[in-house]
């Protein structure tokens, strides 16, 4: 039962990263992809109607963590205090810049909103990467189940590396998205950015294997001890290669899908490497929070396993409906329920 909730949590986080990931990537890139205010507006227009729905996955993911593993929720959120508050401020700034840009028709206002939107998006991609990096690296958990990481300890070298990787992956994801959805010169620039970022993504992916093994060798041994879990990194590698091929072929919708699968591969690899840990302790600390010691009572988990899939099916239906409406195109893409 707790394993099932571990998987659900992974699904929620993956859905969030795929969906809001392209919003963040578009945000980080749109100053470069769009040279004029009009072009930038076109770039953000592609995500305008869906970003708030995408962001709900973050809320719902937090809800799942709170529901199933309250101890881990309490520990992680208080321990990574500064990191999370910064995320909040960035989310506020980003949401307002995107929503309110069109309310005032003035070049300075638009420029200011574009800048805030770009910076906040890029910083969020980085900070989310940093947060995941800290989870992989482990945190100094104490016997009472809590820990504290001051800001500069949150920004340790490994977490920063993962943060940069996160920014690159999401920018590439956003560039693929814009290549698919965009028209005119911004789309051309997005093609170029997507190709370049794909290389960077591949280089960092390979380069990060050793540091990850260095900070937590279970990340690899956990996979090799259960060989079936190697499916996940294989998926990441496969979809990365597919993305290169599809980008060459100019099939941008498929390249975007490959980019989404690459994210699935990365995050599931991480989950498979961590399991059964939710929040592992840093070297030398024995108090890791696992799916066993952080889970809530059985009744709550069983109850929620009844209503949760129902809610997910409903959400999936809404998403397919809305995406079909907003992203109507020859290919009739289906999204949001993978």
């Amino acid at each position: 039962m707790t394993t099932a909730w571990f998987c659900f949590l992974a699904v929620m986080i993956t859905m969030y990263v795929i969906l809001d990931g392209f919003d963040l990537g578009v945000g980080a890139l749109h100053l470069w992809v769009g040279r004029t205010s009009k072009e930038r507006e076109q770039a953000t227009a592609a995500i305008g109607p869906v970003w708030s729905g995408n962001e709900v996955w973050l809320i719902a993911g937090g809800g799942v963590l709170f529901l199933a593993f309250p101890t881990a929720y309490a520990s992680a959120f208080s321990g990574l205090y500064f990191g999370l508050i910064i995320v909040l401020w960035l989310l506020v700034g980003r949401g307002l810049a995107l929503e309110l840009r069109h309310q005032i028709d003035h070049p300075l206002w638009e420029a200011a909103c574009d800048a805030v939107f770009c910076l906040a998006s890029a910083a969020l991609a980085l900070v989310f990467g940093v947060a995941l990096g800290n989870v992989v690296r482990g945190v100094p958990l104490q016997a009472n189940g809590y820990f504290s990481l001051p800001l500069f300890n949150i920004l340790n070298w490994y977490a920063l590396l993962i943060g940069v990787f996160g920014l690159v992956v999401l920018s590439a994801h956003g560039a693929n998205f814009l290549s698919w959805r965009g028209v005119g010169p911004p789309a051309e620039r997005a093609h170029l950015a997507a190709r370049k970022l794909a290389w960077l993504e591949a280089v960092l992916f390979v380069a990060l294997i050793w540091p990850t093994y260095h900070v937590r060798d279970e990340m690899l041994t956990n996979l090799t001890d259960h060989p079936w879990r190697l499916i996940f990194p294989a998926l990441a590698v496969g979809s990365l290669i597919a993305m290169f091929v599809l980008q060459r072929a100019g099939q941008w919708f498929r390249a975007f899908m490959a980019s989404s699968l690459f994210i699935v591969g990365l995050l599931t690899t991480m989950a498979a490497g961590l399991y059964p840990n939710l929040l592992p302790a840093h070297d030398g600390h024995p108090y890791s929070l696992t799916v066993h010691n952080a889970a809530t009572g059985h009744h709550a988990l069983v109850t929620a396993i009844v209503w949760w899939p129902l809610g997910m099916v409903l959400a999936g239906v809404y998403f397919v409906f809305a995406y079909r409406m907003f992203f109507r195109s020859e290919e009739e893409p289906k999204m949001g329920t993978s």
Binding site: A45, P49, G53, L98, A300, Y318, A322
Partner: protein, 471 residues
């Protein structure tokens, strides 16, 4: 803990200003859209008998209110996300303790309410040009249902903190025993009805105020008349529901399940038979009495139990370590809510009377009163929540977990860190508040005849772009 409490109260108070209107306005918009969509000249239901032209005006009104709704909703979302995080960042021990129970309702809010609300608002704002009239109407209804469901899950969460049920385990953590009993907590029903009716009152008075404003200016008369009419009728309906049965029953629950909170609300120090209902008075906690009171003898006992001589427990018979930590705050918040509620009923009643006599649209004094009354609905709503939340003190979960034991451990979040983030939020929210007012003033300045629905602007631009792409 003090810093965490200050931070939470600042964040939640500022945040809740927006959902009040979101929920109230969602109902009003759903009504305007329904009349516009279903209206026919020979409709069976007299309220839907509308000519083609009247339906157009209803549609126009719905579109205008959608613009305000969109800005309000955006601010509500961005200030709402921090609320979920606050439980973990600043109230980690509370989350750890209670997450197994209230995690259910909070996660359900995300899964059942937020997805529907955000997606269908996106569709609604994309406008009638992109979707059929039917889809547009359904989207408006879903936005309404989503926002009211969201309210339900929040109230269900709060109800558990006011009156914990369906749990087992003590000490470090509690666990859920019965999902059904959690949702049917005896506290939930009336508090939900009372709260939603309060939000509807704000929606109604905001509608009426906007209409009154345009009528006084002599602009956009057709739109203004619809807003005033729908606003004052809804205001009277919900003001009445607010007092009876919802307010009456919610107070009844408090009296029985939280006597300490009830005694503080009413300023009742001495336990007595036939307790008086205090209309005006200043609680003096040091002397344990009310100063300068005007009171109606026996009324409090009667209202609480329908028995003129019922004995009600006063604060003197409750140990001081179980008193709310500020009795006067609970008392004043409650009396402000009730006092404003009474004034609002009077305004709504008078306005409906004038409407019925066909004199409302010309009565300048009444229009001024309507235009200026809407801020009081916000104050009354917030005061109601202050009563509920400070009345529950010193407990965060009544009778189970004290507030002082609920914050994040000082070892992980030092008080100084909390002060820094609170200042950050205060600055950010001040900016957000100013921006919000500026945008609303701008939308009002453009008036309802501006057909554009530039909400996410992005949405309309997406339309243009989609058209380009397919061309």
């Amino acid at each position: 803990v003090t810093v965490d409490r200050l931070q939470f109260s600042l964040l939640i108070t500022f945040h809740y200003l927006f959902p009040i209107l979101t929920m109230g306005l969602a109902l009003m918009m759903a009504w305007l859209k329904t009349v516009s969509f279903l209206g026919r000249e020979n409709h069976r239901f007299p309220l839907f008998r509308k000519t083609e032209e009247e339906r157009e005006h209803y549609e126009q009104a719905a579109v205008f209110w959608a613009k305000i709704f969109a800005v309000n909703f955006a601010v509500g979302v961005v200030t709402g996300i921090p609320m979920e995080f606050q439980f973990g960042t600043n109230w980690a021990q509370f989350s750890n303790y209670a997450g197994g129970v209230i995690g259910q309702t909070l996660a359900m809010e995300g899964v059942f309410a937020f997805f529907a609300e955000s997606i269908f608002l996106g569709i609604f704002l994309a406008g009638r040009k992109r979707v059929s009239a039917f889809t547009h109407w359904i989207a408006a209804l879903f936005v309404f249902v989503g926002s009211w469901l969201s309210g339900f899950f929040i109230i269900a969460t709060n109800a558990w903190m006011q009156h914990p049920v369906a749990y087992s385990g003590h000490g470090k953590q509690v666990q859920l025993d019965s999902f059904w009993k959690l949702l049917t907590n005896p506290w939930v029903g009336w508090q939900y009805a009372h709260n939603m009716s309060g939000a509807a009152i704000t929606g109604a008075f905001v509608l009426a105020a906007m209409g009154a404003f345009f009528l006084l200016l002599g602009k956009h008369t057709e739109f203004a008349k619809i807003s005033v009419r729908v606003g004052v009728v809804a205001a009277l309906i919900f003001c009445t529901l607010q007092i009876f049965p919802t307010g009456d029953r919610a107070a009844h629950n408090t009296a029985h399940m939280q006597p300490s909170s009830f005694a503080a609300m009413e300023g009742l120090f001495k336990t007595e038979r036939g307790a008086p209902l205090v209309i005006i008075g200043n609680p003096n906690t040091e002397q344990r009495r009310l100063d300068s009171t005007i009171a109606m003898p026996h009324f409090l006992s009667f209202l609480t139990s329908h028995n003129w001589n019922e004995e009600l427990k006063g604060l003197n018979d409750i140990p001081t370590n179980q008193w709310p930590d500020s009795v006067p705050l609970v008392y004043y918040a409650y009396h402000i809510m009730v006092g404003l509620g009474t004034i609002l009923v009077a305004i709504a009643g008078l306005a409906v009377l004038l409407l019925w006599r066909g004199k409302l649209y010309e009565n300048k004094a009444m229009l001024w009163a309507l235009m200026l009354a809407f801020p009081f609905t916000y104050i009354a709503n917030i005061a109601g929540w202050v009563t509920a939340e400070t009345g529950r003190q010193p407990w965060v979960i009544f009778g189970l977990l004290r507030t002082k034991d609920a914050a994040s451990p000082a070892s992980s979040v030092p008080a100084g860190t909390g002060i820094f983030t609170m200042l950050g939020f205060a600055g950010l929210y001040l900016f957000v508040g100013i921006l919000y007012l500026m945008l609303i003033v701008r939308i009002v300045g453009r008036g309802p005849e501006d057909p554009e629905l530039p909400t996410t602007g992005a949405a309309s631009a997406a339309g243009a772009m989609g058209a380009e792409a397919s061309a």
